[in-house]
Amino acid sequence: MSLSSSLARPAGPGTRRSPAAALQAWLPKLVLAPSVAISLFFVYGFMLWTFVLSLTNSRMLPSYEFVGFAQYARLMANDRWWVASTNLVVFGGLFVAICLALGLLLAILLDQRIRQEGALRTVYLYPMALSFIVTGVVWKWLLNPGLGIQAMVRGWGFESFTFDWLVDPDMAVYTLVIAAVWQASGFVMALFLAGLRGIDDSIIKAAQLDGASLPRIYRRVVLPCLRPVVFSAVMILAHIAIKSFDLVVALTGGGPGYASDLPATFMYAHAFTRAQVGLGSASAMLMLGGVLAILIPYLYSELRSRRHG
């Protein structure tokens, strides 16, 4: 790499360059410039802008009357925000844990020289191609107590069977977990399967020659090799969980009441429909904080391993 860049710039002190050559030298930078400008304005500028809004008393429209951290204080005193945050912890925690467990299980089972492996993989993974709105609408239909799974099982003769989480304020958040796991667990399976295929066979063969049993080999040899995959998967899943908005809108609408609200729906409701731009901005900044809390350790370890690798 350093070779190519030194070849590209033969100009030492005192070398004259023609305008065309100078343009050539600047072209890569010119090509990158719009993207960098876009990123500076639309990503970093907008983050700053939202932060500024969160310090104002903006209601229906942005105003720039500063009130310090008053919106954050209001947020902390807001019952609906706490419901949304608690829901995110419950939803996010279960979603990540179940996806990891199910994904790992399916990947290990699929790795046993299965016939029709390709077909099964395709089936496990297709939900990931769907929109969360589609997933939400379908599961809303399946979980609808009157005509969905509950009615079907009752129709089989189990008259007292009850599965009405969708309309139960205490359980609605778990319907989000079911639908989200359905959508994303196949993807985690694909990650783990790729990880399993990347493990050197000779390590496993050696363990087998030593007489280790299959479960023991998996626990002691294979799982430790998969640690980076677990790390990436957690990071991607946590990111999906924090950003979950469409699924809530389509599946529960945040309800019953606001029992299944998440921060993303809280932010949208306050910023766009309840004329609370200041409060909405403050909640968006806290969401960003949540993402950074996950991202920074990840990037740190990623960069470190790249430097060493």
């Binding site: 072209l27 299965i114 609408v137 968006a284």
Partner: protein, 292 residues
């Protein structure tokens, strides 16, 4: 001895059987919603309230599909989701093409024309992949207003390009890093310029990553709901927003078969892409997340 072998094969067979049973059960779990969606979408309304979720339609009909496409009410209007389907296409196609071209040039410049600070610029852009979009919604709404692009398709195209570049740049950068630089260096010595080298050397080997990028962007933008609902009006809504409106429009009898047909319509394009090019879809999903 003979006995031992037979017992082991029996145990192994039982193990194999359990293995397949678990795998097939899991497959049923993933397939159930799709099957129910499909079955419900071709049932007359009477059969839905009378029969079971999984009962096959007695007299299958395409009427719910036609109604979902052309007549069903999405909020105030009753024109079906057909028009919104075309909206989505009109937004997706330009947004995918523009973001992929920009990503390819960025990736090329970042790997084959490195300069002081280019890695830093890459890291800077990469951050755009990770932000929760809630943090840009309000400023974006105002900026689109200033640009005169509020509630327009062009505005949505702009938004998707702006926030797609980070991903496409990542894809192409990671791909071009692995392309040997010797040819590029030789071409530079021969005096070939920036675009000529891209056109002659990099582009001919880029087919796989172009497919990955196009598929990724297509699925992301087609499936988008947040930007669609925040930055569109009645005429410019993408199909995901229209679908949500259709399902939540509560006038008259709930027509679940029409709901499911509309859901299938919204899901078909990305499903089709997945079936046709699943390998590339998976590669896009896992790009950068598993170190190879």
């Amino acid at each position: 001895m003979d006995n031992v072998i037979r017992r082991r094969t029996f145990g192994a067979r039982l193990g194999r059987f359990t293995l397949y049973a678990v795998l097939v059960l899991a497959a049923l779990f993933y397939l159930l919603p799709l099957a129910v969606m499909l079955i419900t979408s071709v049932k007359p309304l009477g059969e839905i309230s009378a029969g079971s979720l999984l009962a096959l339609p007695q007299s299958p009909t395409l009427a719910p599909w036609l109604k979902a496409w052309g007549e069903a009410c999405t909020g105030m209007r009753c024109e079906g989701v057909g028009g919104y389907f075309w909206n989505s296409i009109a937004i997706v196609v330009p947004a995918v093409l523009i973001s992929t071209v920009i990503g390819a040039l960025n990736g090329y410049a970042l790997t084959k024309w490195r300069f002081k600070g280019s890695e830093l610029l890459f890291a800077l852009t990469l951050f755009g992949c990770f932000i929760p979009f809630q943090v840009v919604l309000l400023p974006m709404a105002q900026t689109l207003g200033w640009l005169g692009l509020s509630s327009s398709r062009a505005g949505l195209i702009l938004v998707h390009v702006v926030f797609g570049i980070a991903f496409t740049t990542l894809f192409f950068r990671n791909f071009y890093v692995a392309v040997p630089s010797e040819l590029v260096s030789a071409a530079k010595l021969d005096g070939a310029g920036f675009f000529r080298i891209f056109w002659r050397i990099l582009l001919p080997v880029s087919a796989p990553i172009i497919v990955v990028s196009v598929i990724w962007q297509f699925t992301q933008i087609w499936n988008d709901f947040l930007f669609g609902v925040a930055f569109s009006a009645h005429d410019t809504q993408p199909v995901t927003v229209a679908l949500n409106n259709l399902v939540n429009t509560s006038t008259g009898v709930r027509e679940y078969n029409v709901d499911m047909a509309a859901t299938m319509i919204a899901a078909l394009p990305t499903l089709l892409v997945y079936v046709l090019a699943g390998k590339y879809f998976v590669r896009g999903l896992t790009a950068g997340s598993v170190k190879g």
